[in-house]
């Protein structure tokens, strides 16, 4: 059932629902209707099974004290993360309303070519926050007309080049020298991933508005 593959946002469905005369009412077009997201699905079940097994093994191997220590530490991490997640979800929702779709299509759409990948890479460096923020925002960009290559370049760029993670986490651990040598080659990699994604998408006919 192919529809199971398109759950949250679907570029194809959205492209189909676009008006045939895009110039006329794009910026005041009614915002996208988003697919409902189930709070529990197979990937959550999978992760729950893995995590529960790990917790049980730790409990049996290291005892209750260590178990509770890890549990409380992680609990505070969850509490710490929640406000960021909420901010990211709101940003993603508002971006979907505010983003001028014609501009997104022009800059990072299917026809944006190499420059689109460069723009997506720069965007990935600029966006603050963690996976919490980048994935909802990437999905929002996809929904307003960015192509798969640019979206993947954006996620890759954020992952490898995002300044907040480098400054807060990587520098204190590794120091300047290592981070520099990791960062320098990484500058080109989002573009590589984006080109590869476009090639694969073309090969498998994903996300290119081909008839279903």
């Amino acid at each position: 059932m192919p529809n199971a593959w398109c759950r949250v946002f679907d570029a194809k469905c959205i492209m189909r629902s676009r008006p045939s005369n895009p110039g006329s009412l794009l910026s005041f077009e009614p915002p996208l209707t988003r697919r409902k997201r189930p709070s529990f699905d197979w990937s959550t079940i999978f992760i729950a099974v893995v995590m529960t097994s790990a917790a049980v093994i730790v409990y049996l191997r290291d005892g209750q004290e260590r178990f509770l220590e890890i549990l409380f530490h992680d609990f505070w991490m969850v509490v710490d993360i929640m406000p960021k997640v909420l901010a990211a979800c709101l940003i993603a929702a508002f971006v979907a309303v505010l983003m001028p779709r014609d501009a997104v299509v022009r800059w990072v759409g299917a026809e944006s070519g190499f420059l689109g990948l460069v723009i997506a890479t720069i965007a990935g460096i600029i966006v603050p926050g963690g996976p919490i923020t980048v994935f909802p925002i990437a999905a929002a960009f996809l929904a307003v007309g960015a192509d798969v290559g640019a979206t993947i370049a954006f996620v890759t760029s954020w992952t490898l080049l995002g300044y907040s993670r480098i400054l807060i986490w990587e520098m204190p651990f590794f120091g300047y020298d290592f981070v520099f040598w990791r960062f320098l080659p990484a500058l080109a990699l989002p573009i590589v991933a984006g080109l590869l994604a476009r090639a694969l998408a073309g090969w498998f006919g994903i996300g290119r508005g081909a008839p279903p």
Partner: protein, 166 residues
């Protein structure tokens, strides 16, 4: 004021500014989309609670010393493959991959191997993939991104070698 706090603050400033812009365009639109954003958040909560809490236990079980030993400077291409797989299996979260990477370096691992490991972990740590990415992105895009990212850690390591770092 810590750096981490400033990033959080910046995030909220962006959210609030965008919210005000939507509000000024249309109040019902603001309510509708603000509500949808909040609903998305609530739906993510169980997933996050499970994923983040569980990551600590998985990290506890990871044989850090063994990982470090496998990534020696002479481990060559096989070392890069092991580093990629290791990065995939390491739980996400801000610290775990970096902590293991540093202990690997201290235990004598090669810089390109550790670059490969950290890059793989950053790109496609399994737990992050399942907790965050499958939660909010279309599934086929996640698979496509995974496929396009597979060679990237090895490319990063090879590029670091070519640029002159041993």
């Amino acid at each position: 004021m810590s750096l981490a706090f400033m990033v959080d603050a910046l995030l909220w400033v962006i959210a609030i500014v965008l919210g005000i812009l939507v509000w000024r365009r249309s109040v019902p639109l603001f309510k509708q989309y603000g509500g949808e954003g909040a609903t998305d958040f609530l739906k993510l909560v169980p997933r996050i609670a499970i994923g983040v809490t569980g990551a600590g236990f998985v990290a506890e079980l990871l044989p850090q010393q063994t990982v470090a030993e496998w990534l020696g400077p002479d481990s060559g291409f096989l070392g890069l493959i092991i580093a990629t797989v290791g990065g995939f299996l390491t739980p996400g979260g801000p610290v775990v991959g970096f902590a293991i990477g540093v202990s690997a370096l201290k235990a004598g691992a090669g810089v390109p191997q550790v670059i490969c490991y950290v890059t793989a972990w950053a790109l496609f740590a399994m737990q992050r993939l399942f907790v965050w990415e499958f939660g909010v992105m279309p599934q086929r895009l996640v698979w496509l991104r995974l496929a396009a990212s597979l060679p990237v850690p090895i490319l990063a390591a090879v590029a670091a070698m070519l640029l002159g770092r041993p």
